[in-house]
């Protein structure tokens, strides 16, 4: 089975391969007829147990551009809210004849449990599981960085020597985890900036360096600053006292933004809390990749779906 469950499983060669295939997909997306027949006749299910319009639509667009048929399953109001188990939900879908599952679930490890179980025998693509991983987000982030840094000469290249600073709630962020693994595999170095309460209580988490002071981290002149979304509910569990203090110490405010080098990329997985973790002026600057991250997301997800559904069904991961 060819699954994409985590970026930690990808080798450097596999990761570059996915990004290169995404380049070809991006070329198709720039044509007038944005369609390839590669997955014609195949059915892909978007199995989303958590609400997410953006990611789901991105996968839907990707599948449709490859001529696949798409079924959307949203947990709210479905049999799951009436207590149906994951196993029964998946087996019911399997009985209808499907060729691939894109799964987003609130439980870490749910796509891995599905891939390892014998309930169904199709490729599984992880669209985000709990606080564990969001591999296609990391891939589209890496694709975006590569494009910005190398332009048309991106094919075959990694991100060696690129310095990436990730700011925010790393502890609860699957985007931070997937990015940390993938960026290191591609030769980049990763630093986290966050209060201790929002970081895993281990040394060098996911192989990254750690700063509790954002200004010290910014003084190291990173090539990319990626800000993560802050959930305001966290302050009720004593992760930080209030949004004002968070922004003051770890927000990419207008003044911090003004001190950034002119080639520093600004990234955000979305959706943004303007004024909380990122100032509006930073989000709207040409150095911000927020909009093209969305466009690149479709190309990367096309590459992932293509490789998963037409590739070697014996191998563990997409390659």
């Amino acid at each position: 089975m060819k699954h994409l469950l985590s970026t930690a499983d990808l080798s450097r060669a596999e990761a570059i391969h996915i990004l290169d295939v995404a380049e070809e997909m991006a070329e198709v997306n720039s044509r007038e007829v944005r369609k390839l027949p590669a997955l014609r006749g195949k059915t892909v299910v978007n199995l989303f147990f958590e609400d997410s319009t953006r990611t789901r639509i991105s996968f839907e667009a990707a599948a449709k551009r490859l001529s696949a048929d798409v079924l959307n399953f949203a947990a709210k109001g479905s049999s799951v809210s009436k207590g149906e188990s994951l196993k029964d939900t998946v087996q019911t879908l399997g009985a209808m004849g499907i060729d691939g599952i894109v799964m987003r679930h609130g439980a870490s490890g749910a796509p891995r449990v599905l891939a390892d179980a014998d309930w169904i025998d199709v490729p599984v693509v992880n669209a985000g599981d709990g606080t564990h991983e969001h591999p296609t987000q990391a891939l589209l982030d890496a694709f975006t960085m590569r494009r910005r840094l190398h332009g048309d000469a991106s094919r075959g290249r990694a991100l060696d020597g690129v310095r990436v600073l990730i700011v925010g709630d790393v502890l609860h962020s699957r985007v931070a985890r997937s990015n940390a693994w993938l960026l290191r595999t591609l030769g980049a170095s990763v630093t986290f900036a966050a209060p201790p309460t929002l970081l895993p209580a281990t040394s060098a988490p996911f192989g990254a360096a750690v700063h509790h002071d954002l200004d010290v981290a910014l003084a190291e002149d990173p090539d990319v600053v990626m800000t993560l979304r802050i959930q305001q509910e966290r302050m009720n569990d004593a992760f930080f006292p209030n949004p004002r203090e968070y922004t003051r110490h770890w927000g990419l405010t207008a003044s911090r933004f003004a001190r950034l080098d002119e080639r520093t990329l600004i990234m955000h997985p979305g959706p943004m809390n303007r004024g909380l973790e990122i100032a509006g002026v930073a989000a709207d600057d040409p150095r911000s990749t927020v909009v093209e991250q969305v466009e690149n997301g479709v190309s990367v997800r096309m590459a992932v779906l293509y490789l998963a559904l037409t590739g070697d069904q014996q191998k563990e991961t997409v390659a």
Binding site: K2, H17, P37, L39, Q313
Partner: protein
């Protein structure tokens, strides 16, 4: 286990020169012509043809200009579900597009015809040429679809258990067309 070389560098060069002249003759000149090579070796051949045409016809313009590109057909193959996981190659269409042009597809070996069918399918998503022609270095027979080449470098009758491979200096270090014994109708040279 026989391996025989049926064409070498001088033969290939002569064949390409002849094909270049034929292309111009069939089109009554160079106007509206665009070469699209099918990766990998078809694309190399297209570049060589481009240089020959630049030499023999001033109307063609300089080599490496907007008359030559590549057309990847991987996504349009009819055998994608077989689980082999083919990586797509680059498609580069000349700046002016292909609407209203005469596209000459260039490939190395014409065999079953499925690659060319995929190429015609791929063209549909890119534009609407006035006409499409096919130039191949080798035609080895055994067509499975009603496809024929307009320009052929060499006709090579072969058995289905033989494998025909084109080697080019740019990709393989030497110029040659080689026939080897192999299993019937694998992937070798399937075009």
């Amino acid at each position: 286990m026989g391996t025989r070389t049926v064409l070498q560098h001088p033969d290939i060069t002569r064949a390409l020169t002849r094909i270049a002249h034929e292309i111009l003759e069939a089109n009554h000149g160079a106007s509206d012509l665009v070469l699209l090579g099918i990766p990998t070796r078809g694309a190399v051949l297209a570049e060589r043809l481009d240089r020959v045409l630049a030499d023999i016809d001033p109307e063609w313009g300089p080599a490496g200009g907007s008359r030559v590109g590549t057309l990847d057909v991987t996504m349009h193959r009819d055998d994608l579900g077989r689980g082999i996981g083919r990586a797509p190659h680059r498609t580069t269409i000349p700046a002016g597009g292909i609407d209203g042009t005469v596209v000459v597809l260039v490939d190395d070996v014409l065999y079953s015809g499925r690659t060319v069918r995929a190429a015609l399918d791929a063209l549909q998503g890119i534009g609407r040429p006035r006409a499409v022609r096919l130039a191949v270095l080798v035609d080895r027979g055994h067509r499975e679809l009603p496809i024929r080449a307009d320009h052929v470098g060499k006709n090579l009758p072969t058995a289905s258990d033989e494998r025909v491979t084109l080697r080019l200096t740019e990709t393989d270090g030497t110029d040659a067309v080689v026939i080897e014994q192999s299993e019937p109708h694998g992937d070798g040279g399937a075009a």
